[in-house]
């Protein structure tokens, strides 16, 4: 541990690996310190029952920014897009499949509303186009009108021109949709409740808010960056397995000479005279380096790893005010087989199946979280990764992953997430799935429940927020993680932030790490 390093990267998730690969390629001596036993961060799969593997965070495969892949010479993993990315379970035996192919989707929607069927293709095309503009913003540091120097005004102008290039109508629609509530957005266009609830659920993902909240229009677009045309959920999956993206980043980092140490938890970032000097490990050892790039979330970094004497009270105040608000839980199921009755085609479970066919039900589930309670009737989405990747389960057996909202980290009654509460929620989720997919419960061999409290303990994410900070408009782009700190450097010389808590945020594989590393290189690595 006494080797000299130019940069220490904290965390070996996608962002940490992307940062390390970028820095290693520039010829720096980089060491990545990862507290857990393997790389992958929130994308990592675990064996939750003998022979059954899944990702406890239920993370999708995210979006790998093409500009980053090009820059790093990273081969882009082959993606498979499910034919039916999203299905609404209406009643036992009755589903509304929203196929990626818009004519097929329209055909299914027509059974509920001819008007909606006619609107659907143009709607998905528009979402795809607007998310495409976000993709442009997500491959460069966030533009900030207030802090941009005159030199960088040209880049700001390019962004503005990119926006105008959408055309007059779509530009206006982009500006309108971003602050809107997804409910209003959908009410303007559709009448079919199930359709609206399905789309809206994607816009409240990992949010402690319901579909009536302003800014959910933005969240909808955020998670559609990189999605296939016609799809209103997720970015498809890597053909070769659930960890393909992080494995590729890991291999690249190692090729670029990066040292990666797992089972190495950082307990403190060492600072002298407003400059970092290295880190102290939980083991008591110290690793020194003039640069530290943390991919832990901003609160974990500033409040957990840095001695507050080195930080400005205003910065600490701003970091304490970041809204984390983990509100999602995940239940993993090991299944003997997939239920045959229930009318839920296996093709649907290859994508996402939402069990909430009403907007008000989604809203009521969110109401509970607002008051610090767990939803009585949570919103549940299920998916069977074992259909995509048979290797995650023993032959013939299956894994079903259920995402559950709302399960707020901060509970009003103060009892926290004790065992009884966890089991009660898991039971409720099992029951909801069994109602939608009769015969489900009979096939469950094992289940594993992860609450926000578990995420916090397992991954070190503040308040169990898988987002590293809620995607509300005051916490994205140049406001992420806090105003004035959006460009990855911090007031401490040599300390950089590059996790999902920085622009472009969660679901973008390596984006924050890559941009942070570039900023570090731009600042120069001299003594």
């Amino acid at each position: 541990m006494n080797d000299r390093h130019d940069v220490i990267v904290i965390g070996a998730g996608a962002n940490g690996l992307a940062a390390a690969a970028t820095l290693g390629r520039a010829g720096l001596a980089v060491i990545v310190l990862e507290q857990s036993g393997a790389v992958g961060g929130l994308q990592r799969t675990v064996e939750f029952a003998p022979g059954f593997h899944a990702t406890p965070t239920a993370a999708d495969d995210g979006w790998l920014p093409p500009a980053m892949a090009r820059d790093l010479g990273l081969g882009v993993p082959v993606r498979t897009i499910p034919d039916i990315p999203l299905t609404v379970a209406l009643a036992p035996g009755d589903v509304l499949p929203l196929a990626r192919e818009s004519r097929a989707a329209a055909e299914a929607i027509r059974r509920h509303s001819a008007r909606d069927a006619a609107t659907w293709p143009a709607f998905t095309a528009q979402l795809h186009k607007l998310a495409g503009f976000l993709a442009v913003l997500y491959q460069r540091p966030a533009p900030d009108i207030a802090t941009t120097g005159l030199r960088d005004l040209a880049s700001l102008l390019r962004v503005a021109l990119g926006l105008r290039a959408l055309g007059r109508a779509d530009m206006a629609e982009f500006l309108r949709i971003v602050p809107m509530s997804v409910r209003e957005l959908l009410d303007d266009r559709f009448e079919c409740e199930a359709l609206k609830a399905a789309v809206a659920a994607g816009a409240v993902r990992d949010l402690r808010q319901g579909p009536r909240s302003g800014g959910t229009g933005f969240v909808l677009l955020h998670y559609l960056v990189g999605a296939a045309p016609g799809s209103v959920r997720d970015r498809g999956y890597c053909r070769d397995g659930p960890e393909t993206c992080v494995a590729a980043l890991d291999a690249l980092a190692r090729r670029n000479g990066v040292t990666i140490r797992t089972d190495t938890a950082v307990s403190r970032i060492l600072v002298r005279d407003d400059a970092v000097t290295g880190v102290a490990l939980a083991s008591g050892a110290e690793v020194s380096a003039p640069r530290v790039l943390s991919t832990a979330d901003p609160a974990a970094t500033f409040l957990g790893l840095v001695d507050p004497v080195w930080l400005d009270p205003e910065l600490l105040h701003a970091v304490r005010n970041i809204k984390f608000r983990g509100a999602a839980a995940v239940v993993l199921y090991a299944l003997d087989s997939l239920p045959q009755r229930g009318g839920l085609p296996a093709a649907s479970l290859a994508g996402v199946v939402t069990l909430t066919p009403q907007l008000d039900a989604l809203e009521r589930a969110a109401d509970a979280a607002k008051y610090g309670n767990v939803s009585e009737h949570p919103h549940v989405e299920i998916s069977a990764p074992s259909i995509r990747w048979p290797a995650v389960a023993p032959p013939g057996k299956h894994v079903v992953v259920a995402r559950v909202q709302y399960a707020p980290h901060c509970l009003k009654d103060g009892n926290g997430w004790d065992g009884a509460r966890r089991e009660a929620l898991a039971d409720r989720v099992s029951h909801l799935i069994d109602t939608a997919v009769p015969g489900f419960l009979d096939r469950v061999l094992h289940r594993a429940m992860f609450t926000p409290a578990d995420f916090e303990a397992r991954y070190g994410v503040t308040e169990g927020a898988l987002t590293h900070g809620e995607l509300t408009l005051d916490q994205v782009l140049f406001m992420r993680p806090i105003p004035g700190l959006a460009h990855y450097a911090t007031p401490l010389t040599g300390l950089y932030l590059g996790g999902a808590g920085t622009h472009p945020g969660p679901g973008v594989m390596g984006g924050g790490g890559w941009l942070a590393a570039r900023r570090l290189l731009q600042d120069g690595t001299g003594p």
Partner: protein
């Protein structure tokens, strides 16, 4: 056709229409204002609803009226006289109260009683809000540039807007951005710990919206209500002598003095258009009045889908207007009282009766009131803002008697089951009973009661869905998006047809800014 020729006809004698008329008359235009009702003012009217009892029937307080309008139209000479509302008292469920008084020191001591830390923070917060209000004011006075246009005037406007934002400096720009996007409760959580304080302040963020205090976007409405001109006060609102109708009368007086003609009981049926050009208006009576320019002070729905044939308009504009959110959410209960209410938390007469009462004991209380409305009913325990105008202006009620104005939220326009007489009564009962929890003698004092649901507000004033701002003040309906993209500069696609209501930038409250900006834009266009 009447013999007299006009240069401009203003449809609707609400305060924005009157302001536009006054400015146009001041520039030498021959202006005719046509008002459907028998009095001018729109939602800013005073009426003697019960013999001897005068009410500011709808809008009841003022703070946003632009000072340049007061100055330029010399409104005090025409009767404008704002009496300050000096205090706000929030009664609490434990029998205590939280108050703010005219005297800042007294307010500070009072807040200290609840939270010394908040009293400390309030000074800093107040300064920030002042800075924010100053940062926004130039934007309120700006004709929104169209970001989709390549016209030199729009590019110059965008540049000016960008320069203004940059000129704020990073700290203020970011603070403003937070205010524009956050919920009022989240925003206040960053500053304060005292629940009733946060609730009372966040209440001004929900007024007139179909949003709860935890809904993003409400912090802006909070700022909007902070932009009163009486700087430094916890809440800078005033009360017009003679009721808000007297403000309308003052503006109408100024317009008349400048040569405008105002006709009441003159409902416009439609705007006459020939070959894409305005030629005048047709009244419900059948009469037609010719003019080359018509300005609508009505809301966007009426302006674009009722006064003219939507077929005359581009489809995207009509679609934009269809999507424009009204969703009236507030009701009004006006009471004629036999005497003064006795508040348990502050017994007996006192200066508090000259101020406002806010029924906002906690953010959760407000949020639950919102939940009722979300699912289609009025709040059983609503947020209420209450004043007793007769305490400030005794002329509003017979001697010894009083009028009470209760602003009630939430009361959704689209109530499940509709607004039947029974529902209206139930809403009135809920308001009185909620207040009676803090002033138990209130029910016994009520001589007469007027309950105005959003549907009633729509029927009487014409405001679509009873929205008091002519359309919600939500981020996606502001500035160059108000009312619809590309048509936010007071023009319409029909030549000679203009809009000047609160449904245009900057909109909302008795501000008059829309009317003034529209008039200037119109005058500027004809000069070119």
């Amino acid at each position: 056709m009447t013999a007299r020729r006009y240069d401009v006809i203003v449809v609707g004698g609400g305060h924005n229409g009157l302001v536009a008329a006054a400015y146009l008359a001041r520039a030498g235009r021959r202006v005719l204002v046509l008002e459907r009702r028998s009095m001018v003012g729109g939602a800013a009217v005073t009426e003697e609803i019960f013999p001897g009892f005068k009410f500011s029937v709808f809008s009841y307080v003022v703070s946003l009226l632009r000072p340049e309008i007061i100055r330029e139209l010399d409104l005090p000479r025409h009767g404008l006289q704002i009496l300050p509302l000096e205090s706000t008292v929030t009664p609490l469920d434990n029998g205590d109260y939280l108050a703010s008084w005219a005297d800042p020191d007294e307010t500070r001591r009072e807040l200290c009683r609840h939270s010394p830390r908040d009293a400390e923070a309030m000074a800093v917060f107040g300064r920030l809000m002042q800075h924010m209000a100053m940062a926004v004011k130039p934007i309120l006075g700006m004709v929104p540039p169209d970001p989709g246009s390549l016209a030199p005037s729009d590019l110059a406007g965008l540049l000016r807007f960008g320069r203004h934002m940059r000129g704020l400096g990073p700290d203020r720009f970011h603070a403003l951005f937070k205010l524009m996007t956050m919920s009022s409760a989240d925003y206040l959580d960053e500053w304060f710990e005292c629940g009733p304080l946060k609730a009372t302040k966040s209440a001004s963020g929900i007024i007139g919206t179909f949003l709860g205090p935890r809904s993003p976007g409400t912090a802006y409405v909070l700022l909007h209500h902070y932009m009163g001109e009486i700087d430094g006060a916890f809440r800078a609102w005033g009360f017009q002598k003679g009721g808000t109708g007297a403000i309308s009368d003052a503006i109408a007086g100024a317009a008349r003095a400048l040569g405008a003609e105002i006709r009441t009981d003159a409902a416009v049926e439609r705007v006459l258009v020939r070959s894409g050009r305005v030629t005048g208006v047709a009244l419900v009576s059948g009469e037609e009045v010719a003019a080359p320019v018509v300005i609508s002070g009505l809301d966007p729905r009426l302006t674009f889908t009722q006064l003219v044939d939507p077929d005359e308009l581009p489809a995207d504009l009509v679609e934009g207007v269809r999507r424009f959110k009204f969703r009236g959410s507030s009701a009004k209960v006006n009471l004629a009282l036999a005497g003064l209410p006795e508040f348990t938390c502050l017994p007996g007469p006192g200066p508090h009766l000259r101020g406002a009462f806010s029924i906002s004991p906690s953010v959760e209380y407000l949020e639950r009131a919102y939940d009722d409305a979300k699912y289609g009913d009025f709040s059983r325990q609503p947020y209420m803002d209450i004043v007793i105008p007769s305490m400030i202006d005794p002329g509003m009620a017979p001697p010894g008697r009083h009028v009470m104005s209760i602003f009630v939220q939430y009361a959704p326009y689209a109530r499940t089951g509709g607004w039947t007489d029974a529902a209206r009564d139930a809403l009135g009962d809920a308001a009185v009973q909620t207040l009676a929890r803090y002033a138990p003698n209130l029910p016994s004092l009520v001589l007469h009661r007027q309950v105005l649901t959003p549907l009633d507000i729509e029927r009487i004033t014409g405001l679509s869905e009873g929205n008091i701002f002519q359309g919600e003040l939500a981020l996606h309906q502001l500035f160059f998006l108000r009312p619809v993209p590309a048509w936010a500069k007071y023009r319409t696609p029909i030549e000679g047809y203009w809009q000047c209501g609160a449904g245009t930038h900057p909109g909302g409250g008795i501000m008059g800014a829309s009317g003034r900006l529209a008039a200037y834009e119109l005058l500027g266009s004809s000069a070119r």
